[in-house]
Symmetry: C2
Amino acid sequence: MKQTESFAYSNLLGRSKEVALLNSVSSHLHWDQQTYIPASAGYYRAAQISSISTLAHQRWTDQEVGEWLKVVENEEITDVAAAANAREWRRSYDRAVKLPDRLVEETARETSLAHEVWFNARNASDFSVFAPCLRRLLSLSLDHADCWGYEESPYDALIESYEQGGRERDLSVLFDSLAPELSGLVLAGEAASGSGGLPEGCYPKHAQAAFNEEVARAFGFDFSAGRVDTAAHPFCTTLGPKDIRLTTRYDETDFTSSLLGVLHEAGHGLYEQGLPENDFGLPSGTAVSLGIHESQSRLWENHIGRSLEFWQKWFPVAVVHFPQLKQSTPEAIFRHVNRVQRSWIRVEADEVTYDLHIILRFRIERALITKELRVEDLPAAWNAEFERLFGMKVPDDAKGCLQDVHWSGASFGYFPTYTLGNLNAASLFACASKEIHGLEENLRDGFYAPLLSWLRNSVHRHGSIFSPGELMERATGNPVSSRAYIAHLQKKVLALATL
Amino acid sequence: MKQTESFAYSNLLGRSKEVALLNSVSSHLHWDQQTYIPASAGYYRAAQISSISTLAHQRWTDQEVGEWLKVVENEEITDVAAAANAREWRRSYDRAVKLPDRLVEETARETSLAHEVWFNARNASDFSVFAPCLRRLLSLSLDHADCWGYEESPYDALIESYEQGGRERDLSVLFDSLAPELSGLVLAGEAASGSGGLPEGCYPKHAQAAFNEEVARAFGFDFSAGRVDTAAHPFCTTLGPKDIRLTTRYDETDFTSSLLGVLHEAGHGLYEQGLPENDFGLPSGTAVSLGIHESQSRLWENHIGRSLEFWQKWFPVAVVHFPQLKQSTPEAIFRHVNRVQRSWIRVEADEVTYDLHIILRFRIERALITKELRVEDLPAAWNAEFERLFGMKVPDDAKGCLQDVHWSGASFGYFPTYTLGNLNAASLFACASKEIHGLEENLRDGFYAPLLSWLRNSVHRHGSIFSPGELMERATGNPVSSRAYIAHLQKKVLALATL
């Protein structure tokens, strides 16, 4: 039976698109909440978002969706995309209906409460303020894991929300082998980095915006189907198949901060713009996982935006926007954006130290979820692990275990996807470098179309048809390892040492 | 029985707020469509809006709403706001359920189609392109009128959408007496206006935005519950009880254009910000009609923003933003923003000629709806009536009967509310001037709080508790007439002649 002729499949397709439309409206309300909303409008906005989200949830967990799924699963599905859609619908339907309403509501209430508590605790640098919230959120997360089910570790059930097939055991092995290699590179990188910096003077916001847009456009980001706005916490969100919104923030003493932020978000945006438009709202038209999404942002940010070729191309353009740069050189900017320097704060970390921050968080949250670590012992465990990884003492909780928002949102299992993104990015870029004839020259010329085509073809167009692991293997010919990533970082450190 | 104890009343209250929330989400999607949306995102946005609007419509036309209404109507209602809510819910429920789905859908389709056809017809200045659309829209509008019912004229049923209690017969009498008085004032005003103008040079957009915000803030517009953005067609929209969005557009050769636009929209916004917040989504917390809404915008735009006192206060501030104004004077700016000059285009018209444009449109659309005028004869009728009112020939349809968007949206009955707004504004301002001790001095000092309080108390806080006519009579002690308005225009023309 052809899938287009199946009544149940058509119903699922319609419902999936309907739910995606409602979710896109929700995303729109969120986007405005982070960009333009007046100060006093937050309370009603929360009600608007919750109302539309509830509607979307109800439409998807409707009993008839389960009935259609059963029918479709008894049909012979020959079309690859249709088979993937049926598989992913089942996955998301099961995960949604397995949670009792009480748990969903309580989690929504607790996380919304916890956000403010965390914010105050961080400002006061006092973990004890946040500890009771964290205890409740951990307990709710374990309830989630129990509802969803798992084979080895409750942490596996939680990772599934962000990275299908991600497993605690595999991540532990991966990170245990990565940590010592990174530690060595950090020391070499710091030694090679020197001091340096940008010429002083104001880098005006409007000039930064113009320059950022010029580069993002050159990468291939379609501004007729997207835009860039200002937000305190940069993000990329999809409000429709032709409506991808990026945000950034500006530091008028350093134009590279907003630039690299925009290139990162544009990487996410290029993935979204490369998904099959007609499949918007279906798994076959949806990004597959956070680890794959992050590979796209990191690739454009780090492998392109932090490369010497990039600055050889764009330095003369940057000088037009920021005349004080005449006192600098492409090589000096390259050193500036690649400076290796251990520090306490993840979001300010350089490329080489970044994953040590992730490994730290993975080890801590894994131990919390498996109850090897008690909440009251978290700060001590964090500080000890930080010192092991970074060789530095943590001065206080604000610069330590309270710095990130994620746990206040009960997002346990999210952090590892940042490092998976880095590994995926390096593997993809290494493969693209082999397969695209003259890529290095392209990049020196600022001609990004061949690279974007390669990513479109290898990653974007497949939506969620393949699992993250399958997708990477099809794209690169090999399962993902840390080899390409370590090689990339070694090359970077070598360049810093010899330039 | 107290209304708070009635089950049916509580249900209606909840449903009314739920529908208002959905409509506020729709408004949000519309707002973005006019301000920030990327060029290619329009198609999906239309689907988002239509989906949320349909949902709101379904929730309000649900059979149980009708049943609750019947119950409530058999209860004794002592509370004034509750009684008004029951009355207005009935009105809006009846108007909604009386339309068959087919008619609603066909009208949505035809108007969305007609907009593009009108746009092209206007660009080509060729009415014949738009005529077939207009015929269909008139026929659909007559179907609406038949479904809704009316006593004298189908036009009455259409006006009800914008101005409860508005009647063709009353408007005809009013406009027939107004027209000759206005024509006389136009000639006197033109003779008194002279040439004049602003000093040349650029009035930068960002300086205009800063100045506009300073003035709107002084009026009392709360920027923690609202903001100003840029749009091709200025408007004010409510996205929540603490979220009122204004838009404007900028002409860098004339800062008064965006300023008066913002003051107009801020007038709408002050009304919305003055509605009882706890009644958001209920008739008792909703603006009562377009004629009352427009009275608030016109009052702040024309009675304040175009007064000599205003420019005596704000000229020195404007000079700081636009140094070239040093060559000018408050009196010269007053002349500039009040210059009387007949022209073809309504949206560019000055205060004195403006209502002649409305009277023209009222006469034409009234005749179309009552079938006294055939669509194919519209341009000739327009041109003849224009010459009668303005003493000028119309050069082409683009500058004539194709200039406005309204008819392409089937908004027959909307135009008269502009002039009703002018009459209401003048009556309210005349009364406020009598009742507020020292108002003229307040206005010279830029101290607007007493005037805003008076409007809050007389108009804003009442929501839709009273009909527009009752509200005006309670506020001013008299039924609305054109007396105060004509006196205001005479005073303006006299000032131009003698200053």
